[in-house]
């Protein structure tokens, strides 16, 4: 023992009996607990922004999602027909590639009345197809069927097709698109009733109130 150099930091308590050590090391134990507490604090300060980053996508406000999208000239959608229209999602980002594109079914009910349905089945989101002869939308996944006005016809869906909010600005048809349409992220607001055939004058009056020429195709295309 005596040959070894003495460690300068050696404590007097080192030569004590275990009971004596236990009585003597309260200061180190206190400092250790303090250090643990300090790390817990630092850890929490570190973790909050990390969790914020991770949960960011879920924290977006509903009102910030979506924008008006131009589907093109009304003349592309003849009265009495239901046609497929493609658009670039206003939520598409730089890295979305072709998945940023989406389709929707446009049903021109009358001159000034249009219904626009999401292609996503209300059951599990598969793309529904329009069958003009039988006037049905059919889903390839589990056989959900919808009538021409989007209401549920048969199969597993518990509701009709999701509808986009629409607006007619001059000769152009606009829809409000944002979320992938699912049961809790609907394409359209809930209070909107099923569109019925109405006189064109009434519709025009209603549109005039909420006329907004500032419609753009996507947010990031400007």
């Amino acid at each position: 023992m005596s040959e070894l150099l003495k460690y300068p930091g050696e404590s007097k308590a080192d030569s004590l009996s275990p009971e004596g050590k236990a009585a003597a090391h309260t200061r180190r134990v206190f400092l250790f607990k303090l250090a643990v507490g300090l790390n817990a604090l630092v850890g929490a300060v570190l973790a909050v922004p990390l969790a914020g980053y991770l949960l960011g996508p879920a924290a977006r406000k509903r009102s910030n999602i979506g924008a008006w999208v131009n589907l093109g000239s009304l003349s592309d959608f003849p009265v009495g027909q239901t046609r497929l229209a493609d658009f670039l999602s206003p939520m598409a980002a730089f890295n979305d590639g072709e998945t940023g594109k989406t389709s929707c079914w446009v049903r021109r009910v009358s001159e000034q009345t249009v219904q626009v349905f999401a292609i996503n089945c209300a059951h599990l989101g598969c793309p529904v197809r329009w069958f003009a002869e039988s006037k049905l939308f059919l889903c390839p996944c589990h056989g959900g069927a919808y009538y021409e006005d989007g209401s549920r016809a048969s199969g597993p869906p518990e509701r009709g097709l999701f509808e986009y909010k629409t607006r007619i600005a001059g000769d152009h048809l606009l829809i409000h698109a944002g979320n992938l349409p699912t049961l809790s992220t609907e394409a359209s607001c809930k209070e909107k009733p099923m569109v019925q055939i109405q006189p064109a004058k009434q519709i025009e009056a209603a549109r005039a109130v909420s006329a907004d020429p500032a419609a753009r195709s996507t947010t990031w295309q400007g």
Partner: protein
């Protein structure tokens, strides 16, 4: 001599080789050196194969929505042996799920999850879920049409969660639509998060196997008791023990080699999985379906009534997983042998048959309309013979109105609705008219899609479809009414001829 010196130098510093050697040579009861005990090690070997092939694929794969699909086609066609690596990884995944499931069933039927191996089982259940997680996220990596719409199905299921549905969808997709952010987070899960958890879980699983020993072969009547089991196992090991390596492990090694060879053979002869069509959501001429391991879920989703769908989707998995996790706590003692556990054998049989049936249904989706049957499958010629012009017109209506998408004639057409070959033997004219116009029983109403002339023609054609000349269906109540009218004649003299005539009419 020099080799021994180097070994000693390393081992003195590392201190791992000797403990590993002892672990490998630990004595195990001779009765478990069996071909039934090879599945766990085979699953581990497949995990290693997946890690190696996965790392090699990551050299070329581009986890970006812009490029993922193209990079897979590039791997298939432009990179030497790229197709083979993709095939190995894909087939390795299918084999791994199969072997993990067989391992689970073997452990369950042998009662090996009982004391003191309860926690080993629970970790094993988590490993099964992680393996399925790898399979689902791996399907997304393919980033073709099936992957895109599969993500849509995942988002639709998440959206059914009460209150936080929308937030869950956004968290799952990494945004409000399926796109680059979605692929990135599934890539992160598939490549970093789940493999890390899998490796850690396998390490804990194997450590516990070493700690408690591989379970002995179950014997009817030899009960597991917490007070005696460990002493009995210890005595058995001392009496009959064999070194695990090599006396038991040679079977594991041969089986692992056979499995690897099978994966290689499947990869070589059957090739890689996809990628299918490009992930362009504007291409809607697609019938998405999931990979083999999830086909049964896809089938179950077709059969749930709308009102039950959300509760079943959200509650059933919780009950199933909790049941599997809690099993060893509820049945930690007692009989291990399958011959004395009829409920266990029955459960495995019922679950296996159920999963098998749903998977089989998932391969040909009888609930889906055949979208091109109306234009592709003509009315069989035999159903046009000896028909009036009106009836033939009705056959045209049947095709034009896309009835065939859901109804088959002579085996061709959809299976969603009943086959129409003998419809007139089941339903009267009135019933057919009502069914066509008003729908019901999973059939849409066609009142708005058919004008009266078309309805008349269609129904008159359908009335000719009576299978092999079966009797036409009749309305029993109307028949009774007619009989009762004719049976109470006003004029007794005219009664007999009148009845005969009434019976022949119509």
């Amino acid at each position: 001599m020099a080799g021994l010196k180097i070994y000693n130098w390393i081992e003195h510093r590392l201190g791992l080789i000797q403990p590993l050697k002892e672990a490998a040579e630990h004595p195990t009861p001779s009765n478990n050196a069996s071909w039934w005990y090879v599945f766990g090690s085979a699953a581990t070997v497949l995990l290693m194969l997946q890690i190696v092939t996965g790392i090699l694929l990551a050299l070329v794969y581009s986890p970006s929505a812009n490029e993922a699909w193209t990079s897979l086609n590039f791997l298939n066609h432009n990179i030497a042996l790229g197709w083979y690596l993709r095939a190995l990884h894909g087939w390795g995944s299918d084999f791994m799920i199969a072997i993990v499931l067989i391992h689970l069933v073997q452990v369950f039927l042998f009662g090996s999850f009982k004391f003191p191996r309860e926690l080993t089982w629970m970790v094993g259940v988590v490993l099964l879920l992680l393996t399925l997680g790898m399979a689902f996220t791996g399907q997304v990596m393919r980033f073709d049409q099936d992957a895109y719409w599969g993500l849509g199905i995942g988002a639709s299921i998440s959206s059914r969660v009460p209150f936080v549905g929308a937030k869950l969808v956004h968290l799952l997709l990494g945004g409000s639509i399926i796109g680059g952010a979605t692929l990135s987070r599934f890539f992160t899960l598939h490549v970093f998060v789940i493999p890390g958890l899998l490796l850690a879980g396998v390490a804990v699983h194997v450590l516990m196997v070493l700690r408690h020993g591989v379970s002995d072969w179950p014997m009817p009547g030899r009960l597991v008791r917490k007070s005696t089991y460990e002493r009995e196992y210890h005595e058995l090991t001392q009496r009959t023990g064999l070194p695990f390596v090599p006396d038991a492990a040679w079977k594991d090694a041969i089986f692992a080699a056979a499995i690897l060879f099978s994966v290689m053979a499947c990869a070589f002869f059957f090739g890689p999985f996809g990628p299918g069509g490009q992930p362009d959501p504007t291409i809607i001429q697609t019938a998405p379906h999931p990979d083999f391991a999830f086909l049964w879920i896809y089938a179950v989703l077709a059969f749930l009534p709308p009102s039950l769908e959300t509760p079943v989707l959200l509650v059933a998995p919780v009950i199933a997983i909790a049941g599997m996790l809690l099993l060893p706590l509820l049945a930690g003692e007692g009989e291990r042998h399958w011959a004395r556990r009829p409920v266990a054998v029955l459960s495995v049989s019922v679950i296996a048959v159920t999963l098998g049936i749903f998977t089989r249904l998932g391969t040909y989706t009888p609930w889906s309309p055949v979208m091109d049957a109306w234009s592709g499958d003509a009315v069989p010629v035999k159903y046009m013979h000896n028909r009036t012009p009106l009836e033939r017109e009705g056959a045209m209506v049947l095709q034009d109105k896309q009835c065939r998408d859901c109804h088959s004639l002579d085996g061709a057409g959809g299976l969603r609705g009943p086959a129409l070959d003998s419809v007139a033997a089941r339903m009267t004219e009135d019933q057919i008219v009502r069914q066509v116009l008003q729908g019901g029983g999973n059939m849409p109403a066609y009142g708005n899609a058919l004008n009266p002339a078309e309805t008349k023609a269609l129904v008159s054609f359908l009335m000719t479809l009576r299978g092999n000349a079966l009797e036409p269906a009749m309305d029993a109540s109307r028949e009774l009414l007619r009989q009762s009218r004719t049976a109470t004649p006003v004029n007794p003299d005219a009664a007999v001829p009148g009845t005969a005539k009434a019976g022949e009419q119509k």
